[in-house]
């Protein structure tokens, strides 16, 4: 009998302690780089502010905030190559911004208007941008994880030196597809990064009740590859971890699971009321670890940034969001006839028939079809 893996460990903390990180700027990341990262984080936060309000005002139908997780998302996205494939969930707005996807396109998706590349077919925040290799996000949890494996294997087969990254939350580690994707990646040594944002909550379920494993990172051991935990609110630490994982993947060293320990400072979505399940103290503790503040303080401490400059950045971000909203809001909804497109590459005879009946019956189409 061998290898008892030790007795179950229970953490005394309801919320996991944040691991220590090195503190020094990772190789290759200049002050200018970090300021650019800060600006993207601020842009995401400004979008969150307005997104939440637009929903309350009934101007958009729903919103999913990133607030608190910008460090993890931007740190990760910046460490990647623009050709790397991204397989996001519904909470990856800062990743999208970091990749350079125009704010206007994001807003059109939030509004579900005629300029939305997704034709208004998805709820807000379920983005898709083929041109940016930002794969279409869906609502079911975890499904994007094996997609990343397939993309990575395809890229390798075609001799392209890129990785794919699956983005998901702590809750998603319980999903079936986490298990499928991790196992396939291990078996085929796929050049993939599993980027888990452990934001402590899956709606109302705390991390401690999601799984009894001490860390999420250690789940990689079940699949024979490396897992590591990183302070997700330290954008530089995240950057370094992803860079390293990417280099290993490209070198044929296989996948990595990165657990970025962070916090969702807002509600799960605009449909959620977090006061039902978590304490004000917990929120306050994590607000004190705000990744935006943290990066700002580092840069200020290093004399790479002044308070005034920071305020200007924030104002600029807000202005950019406001301008984009103004531009997008007047756009009309998608053309009704598009309802029947993209089910298949070409409409089937049945879809043609339904479409014709639909158009004939549309209010304002010139009357009923009998």
């Amino acid at each position: 009998m061998a290898r008892p893996s030790g007795p179950p460990r229970e953490s005394p903390l309801s919320v996991q302690a944040v691991p220590v990180t090195s503190g020094r700027a990772p190789e290759g990341l200049t002050a200018a780089d970090r300021k650019r990262m800060l600006r993207v984080m601020l842009l995401s936060r400004a979008l969150d502010e307005r997104g939440m309000t637009l929903q309350r005002q009934g101007r958009i139908g729903f919103y999913v905030p990133v607030e608190g997780q910008e460090g993890a998302q931007v740190g990760c996205a910046v460490a990647l190559d623009p050709k790397d494939w991204l397989c996001p969930g519904y909470r990856e707005t800062a990743v999208a911004l970091s990749r350079g996807i125009p704010l206007r396109q994001l807003l059109s998706q939030l509004y579900g208007d005629r300029a939305d590349l997704c034709q208004g077919r998805q709820m807000p925040n379920h983005f898709a941008f083929r041109e940016f290799r930002f794969v279409s996000a869906s609502s079911p949890i975890g499904t994007q994880i094996p997609h990343a494996v397939g993309l990575a294997l395809a890229a390798r087969l075609k001799g392209e030196k890129v990785v794919s990254v699956a983005f998901f939350g702590d809750g998603a580690t319980s999903s079936n597809d986490f298990h499928s994707g991790m196992n396939f990646a291990g078996v085929y040594r796929a050049p993939v990064i599993f980027f888990c944002q452990n934001n402590q909550w899956a709606i109302s379920l705390p991390r401690s009740k999601q799984t009894r494993s001490e860390t999420l990172a250690q789940k990689a051991e079940a699949y024979g590859f490396s897992g590591l935990q990183v302070d997700g609110n330290d954008v530089e630490a995240v950057y370094a971890a992803v860079k390293e994982a990417r280099a290993r993947a490209i070198a044929g060293g296989g996948p990595t699971l990165i657990e970025a320990v962070t916090y969702r400072m807002g509600p799960h979505t605009t449909s959620d009321d977090p006061r039902r399940y978590r304490s004000a103290e917990e929120l306050a503790l994590w607000k004190s670890r705000d990744p935006v503040e943290r990066l700002k303080e580092t840069l200020v401490r290093e004399h790479a940034l002044t308070e005034e400059e920071f305020d200007q950045f924030l104002e600029a971000a807000r202005a950019e969001v406001a301008a984009a909203i103004q531009e997008v809001e007047p756009l009309p909804p998608p053309d009704p006839g598009t309802l029947f497109d993209d089910v298949f590459a070409r409409r089937t005879p049945q879809l043609e028939e339904q479409r014709a009946a639909f158009l004939a019956e549309l209010p304002g189409s010139g009357g009923r079809k009998e």
């Binding site: 208007d113 077919r121 709820m123 709606i203 109302s204 999601q210 309802l339 049945q350 639909f358």
Partner: protein
Amino acid sequence: MTELTLIQGVNQALREAMKADPDVVLLGEDIGVNGGVFRATEGLLKEFGEDRVMDTPLNESGIVGTAVGMALYGLKPVAEIQFLDFIYPAFDQIVSELAKLRYRSGGQFPCHVVLRAPYGGGIKGGLYHSQSTEQLFASIPGLKVVVPSTPADAKGLLLSSIFDEDPVLFLEPKRIYRSLPGEVPDGDHRVPLGTARVAREGSDVSVFAYGAMVPVAQQACQGLDAQGIHAELIDLRSLVPLDEAALLRSVEKTGRAVIVHEAPRFCGYGAEIAALLAEKALYSLKAPVVRVTGYDTPFPYALEHLYLPSVDRVSRAIERTVRAA
């Protein structure tokens, strides 16, 4: 009698069942501390404790698989699937295990689990918070499928489901969770499974609907009275087993049929209703059977209002059917 919303009817049925029988246990995502994302389980954790109201990890095959195990022991688990759209990770457990255990074991292992799932459109939920896929489950032998459309039926059918002997998928039309309150009998109110409800009598055409399409069809029927069209509205409510007798009785009387559901038309549940009529009531039919349904596309977001059968669309279909031939 108390005036309740549909979701309150659900909540009351759960509470009654748990009070009456210690073997009734609940499990699902966010059902405990949070009381369910739609508040179906509000207050139950406090009242019955976390051994009987279990917040689960994010995994539907775990929820259903664990519930199956509990049922094999003899408990009466009621599992919540947060949205019907998220039931698919549990599909194997439902199709291969839950629905087949009694049969494959020669009756040795009955497996009585109730799966509750909010379903349907009308809440701007887009592709993944709106779907109606009852046909998938109705086609699996061994599974009952129930859909209430009123608060009283929500309570009465859920209590019957919990104390039934077979696995039941209990679909809750979330669009009318709160919008249409109604009188609900107090106490142990039961509505037998397998019986349709005549929501409205009529002589000119039979309209078949369930869930959130019942009030839509109801309104359409009422509007047609003025035109001298008297439609009979049947709320199917028990999709499996289907009250075939009620259905045939109505069509034998009216000679015409309109079927309304939110799900896409092709291979939807309405196909079975139409097929039954083509098989067993052909000689009564005076006009083609008409299905008013969602279109054969995924569920859209921005154009949802054009996708779902509306009062207007149902009215026109009824009119057309009555005027035909």
